[in-house]
Amino acid sequence: MMTREIRIIPLSEMPAFVGALMQGHKVLAPTRNDDGLCVFAWLAAPEQADWTCGIPQVPPKQAFLPRTEILFTYHREKGRETITPPPAPEPQIALGLHPCDVQAVKVLDAVFSAEPSPDQPYLARRAATTLIGRGFTEQDPLVFCRELGIDPMDNRDCDAFLVPLAGGQAEHTTSRMALEILTDKGVALRLAYDGFPKAGVEDLAAIAEARKQSAARGVPLLDMAVIQRRLENIFNSDLWNRIHEPCVGCGACAFLCPTCHCFDIQEEVMGQDGARVRVWDTCQFDLFTRHASGHNPRLSQKERSRQRIMHKFSYGVGKFHIPFCVGCGRCIAVCPAHNDVRQILKEISDFK
């Protein structure tokens, strides 16, 4: 992607930059809650954005797929209904996304723009969003995005991108961010970044060096094509008996997965007024596929665990040519049974 321009923001000035972004935008960013847990959340104050967070436990998908989305509201009177669409989404910024979370947005884009029924509420929110990614230098043992071919310094698909740069006395700690402006939406943030200096020759060298170091950390790639082909052939295999066994079907993995996008549609009614809302749901639940007749095609956890893996690594790849997993490691971190999707992939690859 053509970089339009690069500005240098000292870490101490980040709140000023974030504050400027908050003028006219809702801003979702990594924050630390009272328990010290890193989560993506809507900022109430610029200082809340936390630049020490690794991969926040709550993903940024809520920016596009809110936990509760009002599809429309209605009023019933004398047998007549008036339906009101929700207000158009406000301009918003998703700030500080790791490149794997950016890839997850691409997954959501693929799913929600698919013909024949592109999802209008999703697309409206997406269009109202400016994506500011953030490069990561630290290594987290749970994150395996590199094995999926994602480089944590890659700025693709972002409107702007922050490259953390070390410098000054503290050689390994981030002292400033290089803000790369990549698209028109990025340029539209000019008021927020105009006060910061343009990158000099040394800064450009530091950015190039950060990218070089990141690229040098290459790891063997998971062969997604092999995994997909294998999965196509083992739908009825005993392997799933083994894979599902430790899973208690709690659903935490899917709720916190940046690519999982399943939802339920519910009615919230009070008297004559109501709203049709969409809320998060997951294939890990019995109710998710239970038909009105009572029949359930995914009767036990075996079918549900299989669905999760199939959807991520077979159906997604087959239909949209993109795995529905970006290697963020959140599901590994939150699974109470410590089910590790990397081990499941290994078992599948090794299965004869």
Partner: protein, 336 residues
């Protein structure tokens, strides 16, 4: 007191001699400071997980799994939940003190058959709370850890930090009233001393004395964190209803929006369903991905049940839980 045995020896014995079809224990997990469940199928398992395996390969796999069994302070998960999965099969399960109360609970409620169970009791001093450790460290270092005698070592922002193992265990473990299993066929360790604890924890005393406003604010704050993923319910060994009220959809009883009243309603109803049944095992608290402090409310509930009915859930399988029984001597006329 049950016979003390070696974990791997007893597992091998039970599985190879066909005394159980399934053995549920722990193995080291792929992340530091954590253990994962390990489910081992025996030679005589009627519904073997690997039907298509050659008998040799099957024996190999069983032997490998038995060799991987562990029990130590990483083993936080309450394995009793899995008993629902293997209901009609002869099953052995490793239980800590707290977990053993869940077994008693299921026996009381006739959800499992004692004849089908071999209970491997694990006296326990407490299990490590990784999130608490991360908080003590002031960084998300719980993913990189080392053990050094009675300390854990963490790499945190470029330097090493240390925390005492005893400070790293769950609050519930510090307040545990049953370090030693209340029911077991074998023990895999010597009993550990049980400290005398006050009737009510200091926190509970304070909560009870606090103003309604304060309690409301606190409750609101906890409930606002909840994303209604239901992981707490799905992890609770006592939550085994085929259709939970939260899943009732004809008609729908509770909403699932991000309005805190939905989370409140869900949790209050769930608490009501757990009166006299919650054993305080903490599975729900540990499984919550949002750190909702359900412990506070469970403790509150249990302390009331104890005060009103003199009953502690999951202690004695011969006693009926208060909300499941009826007495002609009841002090309330409407119930007689």
């Amino acid at each position: 007191m049950p016979k003390q045995v070696d974990l791997k020896t007893i597992a091998r014995d039970l599985l190879t001699k066909g005394k159980v079809e399934v053995f549920i224990g722990y193995q080291a997990a792929s992340l530091p400071l954590a253990a994962a469940p390990l489910i081992i199928h025996g030679a005589k398992d009627s519904v073997d997980a690997s039907q298509s395996m050659a008998p040799d390969a099957e024996r190999d796999m069983m032997a490998r799994k038995v060799a991987a069994l562990i029990f130590d302070d990483r083993c936080e998960m309450n394995l009793v939940n899995y008993l629902h999965k293997f209901k009609d099969r002869k099953t052995a399960v490793v239980v800590k003190g707290c977990d053993s109360r869940s077994v008693v609970g299921l026996l009381q409620e006739k959800q499992v058959d004692r004849k089908n169970l071999v209970i491997i009791g694990a006296p326990c001093r407490g299990v490590v709370d990784r999130r608490h450790v991360a908080k003590l460290m002031g960084c998300d270092a719980s993913r990189e850890v080392d053990r050094e005698g009675e300390h854990f070592r963490f790499q945190c922002a470029g330097s090493w930090k240390r925390v005492k193992v005893a400070d790293a265990i769950y609050t519930a473990c510090r307040e545990c009233q049953v370090h030693n299993p209340v029911i077991a066929d074998y023990w895999i360790g010597a009993p550990v001393p049980q400290p005398d604890l006050p009737e009510l924890t200091a926190e509970m005393e304070a909560l009870r004395k606090a103003s309604p406003d304060h309690r409301w604010t606190r409750f609101h704050k906890e409930m606002s964190k909840c994303i209604l993923c239901y992981a707490c319910r799905n992890l609770c060994p006592a939550c085994y209803c085929k259709t939970c009220f939260a899943d009732a959809c004809k008609p729908k009883w509770v909403g699932r929006t991000d309005d805190p009243s939905d989370a409140m309603l869900f949790h209050l109803q769930r608490l009501m369903h757990l009166g006299g049944r919650c054993t305080g095992c903490g599975a729900c608290v540990r499984g919550c991905p949002m750190n909702v402090d359900l412990r506070l409310y469970n403790d509150h509930l249990r302390s009331h049940v104890k005060q009103e009915y003199g009953f502690m859930a999951g202690m004695d399988s011969a006693v009926h839980p208060p909300l499941a029984m009826y007495s002609m001597g009841d002090c309330n006329e409407f119930i007689r």
